[in-house]
């Protein structure tokens, strides 16, 4: 599988982080945008990350990318020292998967995203990406519990469950697949990757396993595998 090049990934990250801005600066109350920033501990400045508009994802358009990025970030939020969906580039993983292995789910995603948008506009008079994180969590809860209205195929619960599953895949699948950027997902939980051997001493260890390197399909990463 070809990995996305850096510029494309950068576009998707920008689309994600600058979710508010992506839809047009004039539509986003500054207070909400700033609040978003603080909540996520992010360093991004929305105005500086407005996408040029000349690039496209493997599957998602700009608006879809922004919604997926915001949604998956609520499932696995990023925080200092705790990589989440944004840090792991879960959006990139899902975008690539839908253009390849999960192509049969393209319609599932298109319809699910349209229903999500319609539900948010009907309920909050706003698109999902413009809601505060607390409101976004309300939406996720409504989907998870099957209480969000307007979904047919997929049902809101199906849509939530697939998004959760794909977020976890993007967090923890080998970086070859476009997520788990720099092994951030594995570092989060202390997984050392596909080690070929564990020794008898390893098996007796009651502490965190920290031997380097982490082992991936193509890359060998430097840095501690385990966490306290």
């Amino acid at each position: 599988m070809a990995k996305h090049d850096a510029s494309r990934r950068e576009f998707l990250v920008r689309a994600a982080v600058g979710a508010g801005a992506a839809a047009g600066a004039g539509l986003v109350p500054d207070a909400i945008a700033q609040n978003h920033e603080q909540m996520e501990g992010g360093a991004a400045t929305p105005g500086a990350q407005h996408p040029s508009g000349s690039e496209h994802g493997a599957f998602f358009n700009h608006a879809d990318a922004a919604m997926i990025a915001a949604f998956t970030e609520r499932i696995m939020p990023s925080a200092p020292g705790k990589p989440g969906a944004r840090d792991a580039d879960v959006l990139n993983y899902i975008d690539l998967a839908l253009a390849g292995a999960y192509a049969e789910l393209q319609d599932f995603y298109r319809r699910g995203l349209a229903s999500l948008d319609a539900y948010c506009r009907a309920t909050y008079k706003e698109s999902f990406v413009h809601l505060t994180p607390e409101r976004q969590d309300e939406v996720l809860t409504a989907l998870e519990e099957g209480k969000a209205t307007g979904f047919t195929y997929p049902t809101s619960r199906e849509f939530f469950n697939i998004l959760r599953t794909h977020t976890m895949e993007g967090m923890f699948a080998d970086p070859l697949y476009g997520g788990n950027k720099d092994f951030s997902g594995w570092r989060l939980v202390g997984f050392p990757g596909a080690q070929a051997v564990f020794t008898p001493t390893d098996l007796q260890n009651k502490q965190a396993f920290t031997r380097e390197p982490m082992v991936g399909l193509q890359t060998i990463a430097k840095g501690p595998a385990g966490r306290g």
Binding site: K82, E169, F172, F191, A196, F198, D202, F209, L217
Partner: protein, 573 residues
Amino acid sequence: MATEKTDVVIVGMGAVGGILAAELGKAGMKVVGLERGPRLTTADFNPHDELRYFQRQELRPNWKRQPVTWRPNASATAHPMTILNYGNQAGGGTVHYGTLSWRMHEDDFRARSHTIERYGASVIPEDSSLADWPLSYADLEPFYDQAEYELGVSGKAGNLQGKKIDGGNIFEAPRKRDYPLPPLLDDQSGVLFAEGARKLGYHPFSSPRAIISQPYHDRASCTYCGFCQSFGCHVGAKSSILVTKLPEADATGNFKLLTGTMCYHVKTDNSGRATGVSYYGPDGSDNTIEAEIVILSPFIYDNTRLLLLSKTDKFPNGLANSSGQLGKHVMAHIMAKVFVAYDDRFVNIYMGPSAQKHTLDDFNADNFDHKGVGFIRGAQISVSPADLEAGPIGTAMSLDPPPGTPKWGAAYRDFLAKYFTRYAALNAQTENLAYADQTIDLDPNLRDQYCMPAPRVTYDWRRPNERARVEFLMQKMEGIGHAMGATKVWRGALSPGVPGAHHEGGTRMGSDPKTSVVNRYGQTWDIPNLFVIGSSTFPSMSGFNPTLTIQALAYMSADAIAKRYKNKPGPLV
């Protein structure tokens, strides 16, 4: 379109097919094996990739192209099951299984008689079709032994010719000799499990597994990498059919393997004899093999489906179905789970062979007094990762967070970050009873990639006897969790009725042609040159993983065919 002739055609080259191919080939019979998947090699399994093999199930049938549907009862709508827990390549499920290799208990072979003798007939649920096997443990013991030694199983005897041995499974049936290989090394979850269980007076032991703990038959030993369940072994230490029997079959010079082939029909003639099979080639071609003996050994669904689809005027209800029992008495294990987690230490459960690492057999079979407990038969209790493999994707999918912790958001992230390396799962693998209304038939609404009707399973484990057993075991596992010194102990969610692992039944064996489909050799009562061998013939399932018993039955059938049937074709019983 090709037609060829052979002595024996075997459909499905997994746990059964590989053994029969090698053994019948050695006996001088020409064997053709049909396998719908590819033939992979050990080199294909390096490096390990959790997304590809666990999450996307590359070594299992694709549930969209080869669907099997499930419904909880006959009035519900059936939908495809999204996990098909069996193989889709030469070597079958043994390529990616967890390798648990059990001999069933003596009373497992006579569960009905034993239950009546000890507790009276009234304790058997009225609607259950619990039945004895048409053979005893003693009949199968030499073939269990052969399987353990030829394939390579690591473990410690707990009952050597009647002498109980501490550290092995003291509840096991007597064995003539010890395992060929010593037990695999303990990991920390096994150590904790064993310590906790002993405090409560139970008898834990390292589970017997078909992974070689020392070099054996020119194969390298286990590296404890942890990628077993769902994965092929990257050093060939897993004693899969791929690295054991298929090379033996090749060496006979009498074996031909046809990969990418899908058998869709068993041919019979007007005399009621099987004459061969029809299959689709990888290029879509329609081909025929004429054979003196037809052996069906795919996973259970395709046995019932093929026999139903091959009906003729002479066999209007499907082949080998004069009893009307074809497709009935389906069983499956479910895994009831209790999770344990530690604040004061790490467990690192991703190390070492991943599935059901340590076991206690105290609550399996009739190893404990069932008086007053409200159910019959038991379960194997073991310690494992949440989904029998220990990578972070599987853990995120199957490690239910404790009550009060959500499944997403910052609190979930922090839960997973802290406990991924500090948790273990206790599993109760339950001996669910057979019921005649748990069935396999043909789904009228869905066809697979070959345009064949999908097999449809009607099954719901949530019956009074089974629910009472699960509740009993959940409480036992909570007790073990606390005895293990865990900081947190909580129950996992139960499945919504869907069959779990190790589906069995559909072509039940018995001693009476009126109430069973095959005899003890897997020979169909109705068509003596048509055999069905595998877990679809199990009359009852025990709380143990079925593979070693399947393999022992394959050796027994091969022995009977080579020594008796070959010289004098006809009924073996």
